[in-house]
Amino acid sequence: MNDQTPISREERIEKLQGLGSSRKRVEDARFTQGAGNYVDDIKLPGMLFGDFVRSPYGHARIKSIKTEAALAVPGVLAVITAEDLKPLNLHYMPTLAGDVQAVLADEKVLFQGQEVAFVVATDRYAAADGVELVEVDYEGLPVINDAFKAMDDNAPLLREDIKDKMEGAHGPRKHHNHIFSWEEGDKKGTEKALADADVVVEELITYQRVHPCPLETCGCVASMDKINGKLTLWGTFQAPHAVRTVASLITNIAEHNIRVISPDIGGGFGNKVGVYPGYICAAVASIVTGKPVKWVEDRIENLSATAFARDYHMTGKIAATKDGKITGLSAHVLADHGAFDACADPTKFPAGFFSIVTGSYDIPVAYCGVDGVYTNKAPGGVAYRCSFRVTEAAYLIERMIDILARKLDMDPAEIRLKNFIKKEQFPYNSALGWEYDSGDYHTAMDKALASVDYNALRAEQEENRAAFDRGETRNLMGIGVAFFTEIVGAGPVKNCDILGLGMFDSCEIRIHPTGSAIARLGTISQGQGHATTFAQIVASEIGIPAEDITLEEGDTDTAPYGLGTYGSRSTPVAGAATAMAGRKIRAKAQMIAAYLLEVHEGDLEWDVDRFQVKGNPEAHKTMKEIAFASYNQAIPGLEPGLEAVSYYDPPNMTYPFGAYIGVVDIDVDTGVVDVRSFYALDDCGTRINPMIIEGQVHGGLTESLAIVMGQDISYDETGNIKGATLMDYFLPTAVETPNWETDFTTTPSPHHPIGAKGVGESPNVGGVPALSNAVHDAFAHKGLTHTQMPHDHWRIWKTAQKLGLTD
């Protein structure tokens, strides 16, 4: 039976809504109608609530904890402290970075907001009343809030629990507040390049502590079924399978008895990669009470206790010839990791992929070193919408290039064009050890410069500066250029693992008899639209329309094992697995088609949604027909059914890149920055869904705007976190967000099955330097070299004041 519908090949392609189609997001129907199912929507019979007593101090000894008054509150059932967890050996938990973190404070607190006791009650309100009444007696201790002072001789000892453990997870520790030292590159060669250079620029560039601040905070529901011994954990997990394995290892509950489910997640941006005390406490409370226990943090808790990002103090040095050719780069970072090292990086990379710091430039020799230190701040250090520490690296190199340009009196665009890795140099081995898979930087940059009419902008800026000097305007115009190279898709199992779990990913596809399908992946969407885009990959590979494919992720009992979604890894790794699983299905389908058409397999060719006999397209079998036959027709030598699973270990990372240009007008009297226009050209290889790419770029750019113009998690001298509410922590609304103009070039990844590279994080990586460079550019002619972010109103005004521009 042939499908007789006479539609053209183009119509058949369109019907698939496969690669390249701006298919509408299938997730949006439920999200826009308020019908999503988030953790806090889960309500189970008899469910209890847990809430934390948190430290009001940055550093203090706990002298006593009195729980009687709290326990007297109607509805309060238990108050759990470290003493209760000790017999279970759960008062500390392993972090992703090889350190341990207190689940509940053990004798002392190390940051404001640290978890001290967990109150379990019949409802949220009783739990909160109980929290108010737990009396903790503290004795204040001296606080370290400045990473530069952490390793002073007389610096207070923060981590008493590991004071004798001078061999850390990443080698020897040189001070009681030191975590690790990590180096890459040729130190001597770089020193020589710096010594021999015509010009050297050096700058301390701080990327302030920020927080990913997903709209949905972190939380979980733990439910221990005492009858069958199964623990089910629903939670805001960006890596559900890893959570299951880690939970099994630390609780000794067999892995098959733990089921982890990530329901809808309202944004992650790295904040939901780690394991938090709330998860452990909820699980323990459920095991003890035999009832489901929910824990959901509020906004202040989210901003002050679950993972922050950045907090990198980076000293960059560039050596160059007098005509602007870079001859060497050195970078040293003092990394503030807070009270526990809970960074989320592949385990062998304590500073993530910071060594991508040579950026998009052909730099012959380079060196980078990172020292991590403990301070009295919240733990974390996650990749806030960027691959591990890539945005820090991109910020450093892109600021440094501008500083070099300024020193040489060169145009920032020109100096970049002069130093780019050339198209013919790919695959390119960077001085710090990465093999860039592909790129065409000159084409992208030229397109960007032409699109914004860069020369006209510079001419306008000349006029603006003259008018400012004549007193005719109090606005200064700034043009920010940035060109970034990302390194995403962690990663090859040979060097990428998290706590020993290799960073492959997976996809399983099952075709139903009537020719629709379900695909399950090891990743988990948090707003990226996986159900939309991964179905498009399957559609193109196997010729079943995307709308006939259900996509599922996030349930460890049903989905194949994978390492989850962060670091822009889903498309590079799970997306590749999806294509490969599709190809396995197609291979079997080809055998079936050959049998049905009574030809040799080699006589068939694939065409959109069918196999056809070469030279005789009338003789064909569609995938739909093949699916039916696979189940219902006894085919000699073939098992019934049509399904496949693929575990994909990527041979290399992918290297998306982009050219961003932003234009700002700064009101020198108020420090208010108006982003007049912003142009973002992204090259993420093969484009799966252009509309989703655009959405990702809009969102990421908006976050970059937030970081550059205001986000700041800072602490005062006594260890108080400043501004951990959305009144102070800057989340731009539609009003503050400018129009984002997007564009693209396409340089497919040579090693990815469909040539895709990942895009979700690029805009955060490129947007930050572009906007910061724009602000600096506005004042560059007045002598500004560098000033730290955030570039909020008052700091800009102070900059203008220092430059003598205010009255």
Binding site: D51, R124, Y125, A127, A128, D129, E132, D298, R299, I300, D669, T670, G671, V672, G710, K722, G723, M727, D728, F730, L731, P732, T733, V735, E736, D792, H793, W794, W797, K798, T806
Partner: protein, 287 residues
Amino acid sequence: MIPGSFEYHRPSSLADAVGLLSSLGDDALLVAGGHSLIPMMKFRMAVPEHLVDLQDVKSLKSISLDSGQISLGAMVTQAEIILSDELHVACPILREVSYQIADPQIRNLGTIGGNVANGDPGNDMPAIMQVLDATYILTGPDGEREIAAREFYESAFFTARQDNEILTTIRFAAPAAGHGSSYVKQKRKIGDYATAAAAVIVTMSGDTCASASIGLTNVADTPLWAENAASLLVGSSLDGETIKAAADAAKAITDPADDGRGPKDYRTHIAGIMVQRAIANAVDRAK
């Protein structure tokens, strides 16, 4: 972010509300739109045992304009102020300020009474009431009394209102025909309180300033009426130097807090800039 428990009361007349406040004593608080109070309760900075909700007290919801006198019931929302064309014609600064308060959702519930009674120096309406020389009408167990807005604010969250009094009406004379007004507010983002803000009303007589009134928001622990600054403008041609001198006089009475909006010197400076810009706008708009 979970408030303590409380009893909820919803009287339907002013007399009942006053009665409840008196009988419940110190442990009771009024709630109007709730958009200042409920956040405080969630922080447990306010832990009332009783909330007396004014939503059903219909008599507090009227807007009236009568022979040059404007009366606003305490329960008139910020959104209703924006929507009233009549008010806008008589006193355009009210719509201008309302649009700069919070966001539409908050303005739909937040009331003028709550905004001025709250006593938070970050609220925008009190500075407007300074420049308009408004009168607040309070009703307590002993009946009604009037107090000038310029006398009402004592320090942050402390006002001349007794705990058992309800602010019922805000009354002021509509500014003179042909006046120009402006409210200029610098903030970090939508929904933020002012880094500094200035309200200005002027009347002109030809090229000369005939009268002026200046108010400031969030640059001290109370709203400020910048009397000296305004008096410098009167009789002048509002040349650059005079405006600058007025801004300096306004800055001289500020004492802003150091906070996430910026250090003291910056916020003082911004107060001056806001005054200059508000004067320029007001003069432009004056006829």
